[in-house]
């Protein structure tokens, strides 16, 4: 696991924004074309609806929309670094962040993508925290954005039901570690032996020159695949473990946690992790999965923005963040929620 920089300024959240595409896909919409039902999806995932982008809309578009709102929320349009966490970049090459930065009027700043699937936001948060602590950046726009629908197999009833599109963003500025909004210890981990749990098999260098695959198989290999049962087990174990470690590093007891912001993977996973941590069902567990599903890299900033805007996450709340994603990757962090106005249309 990673260690945190112990010197230099802290990264402090000073702006929050999120954006969701308007098209809602309900469980009934999915049941009309797949062998599934509203009850089946709700029981296994806790999801009732998810958002989908319209034709021609890409991850960069969602990232710009969320980034703009986060910058507005921060009260200052200027940052000197843009970090974008995503599983679904606009192109395999180049990264999406530089174009997003330019569209936000930030041409010239450092900009790059971070890829850790559903853990991307926490990997980005660790990166932003380090950049600020090292004096490389003073203000960082950190975005999590996905058009997950672009890699979903339309015939896979499991993944089609779970994943949705959306984007969330925060602005982090250099500040003092004792301020509200200061990011506490960030812990990251990975286990490459579990690389096949969550995967898009084709499209990378590993895929080049593969012999014997017919066109149909080749097309199918460009879709996102997930081994649900195994992912559940690893997600529950690793998220619980890293969340406990982050609390330990921060010197927080579980009882002192006001809000648990878990990556909205699947309600069953979030519940299993919460139960193991000893965080009872109720307002301490932030949740928006029923309305928007699992938005992967966008999940945590969307949850924070959504909860802050609805008043279920309030200034001063001691908040624990945790996620598990493909790779496998995982991470956790703590923050005392600051007094910011979250902008989410």
């Amino acid at each position: 696991m990673t260690r945190n920089p112990s010197r230099g300024p802290a990264a402090v959240i000073c702006g929050v924004g999120a954006w969701l595409p308007p098209q809602v896909v309900s469980n009934h919409d999915l049941a009309a074309r797949l062998d599934t039902s509203d009850q089946w999806i709700r029981e296994r995932t806790g999801i009732a609806a998810r958002r989908r982008v319209g034709p021609g809309v890409a991850t960069g578009d969602l990232a710009v929309a969320a980034g703009e709102l986060a910058l507005k929320s921060s009260g200052c349009g200027a940052v000197d670094m843009v970090v974008l966490g995503t599983t679904t970049p606009d192109h395999p090459c180049p990264a999406t962040a530089p174009e997003v930065a330019s569209r936000l009027g930030l041409t010239g700043v450092g900009a790059f993508d971070v890829s850790a699937v559903c853990s991307s936001f926490l990997y980005g948060l660790a990166t932003a925290t380090g950049l600020i602590a090292a004096g490389i950046a003073e203000r960082v726009l950190l975005i999590g954005a996905e058009t997950f629908s672009s890699i979903l197999d339309p015939d896979d009833r499991t993944t089609a039901a779970i994943f949705g599109d959306g984007a969330g963003a925060v602005v982090l500025r250099a500040g003092a570690p004792t301020e509200p909004g200061a990011i506490g210890p960030v812990l990251l981990g990975s286990d490459g032996t579990q690389r096949d749990l969550i995967k898009v098999p084709a499209g990378g260098s590993r895929d080049r020159g593969r012999a014997g695959s017919d066109a149909r198989a080749a097309l199918a290999d460009h879709y996102f695949r997930m081994r649900g049962g195994e992912t559940y087990r690893h997600a529950v174990e690793r998220t619980t473990e890293v969340a406990r470690a982050a609390l330990d590093r921060a010197g927080w007891s579980v009882d002192s946690v006001d809000r648990f912001a878990a990556h909205q993977a699947n309600a069953r996973i979030v519940n299993a992790v919460s139960e193991r941590l000893g965080i009872a069902e109720g307002p301490r567990r932030l949740s928006n999965i029923t309305r928007i599903g699992n938005t992967a890299a966008a999940s945590l900033p969307l949850l924070l923005a959504d909860s802050a805007a609805r008043g279920t996450l309030r200034p001063g709340d001691r908040t624990l963040l945790a996620a598990f994603g493909g790779g496998a990757t995982w991470g956790a962090a703590t923050v005392v929620w600051p007094d910011v106005t979250a902008l989410i249309p």
Partner: protein, 78 residues
């Protein structure tokens, strides 16, 4: 051990006492595929591993407990 597993199913899997009967299966108790993974993880606390695939294959609760007891005995060197 059967009673302990029964208690686990009632406290953590919303199974009610009336649902149990001789030869009852996990499916009859309302456990879906994710529940089998969760049950497999919880059974590790008893001292031995039974995978979710094995649970799905065995189905009958008495057979699951029998396998769990055998593995615990092997592990304890009995």
């Amino acid at each position: 051990m059967y009673e302990d597993v029964k208690t686990l199913l009632m406290t953590s899997f919303q199974v009610v006492k009336e649902d149990f009967h001789d030869e009852v299966t996990l499916e009859e108790l309302g456990l879906d595929s994710l529940d089998l993974v969760e049950l497999s993880m919880r059974l590790e606390d008893f001292g031995a591993a039974v995978t979710d695939d094995e649970l799905a294959e065995l189905q009958r609760l008495d057979a699951v407990v029998e396998l769990l007891e055998q593995r615990c005995a092997v592990k304890e060197g009995r």
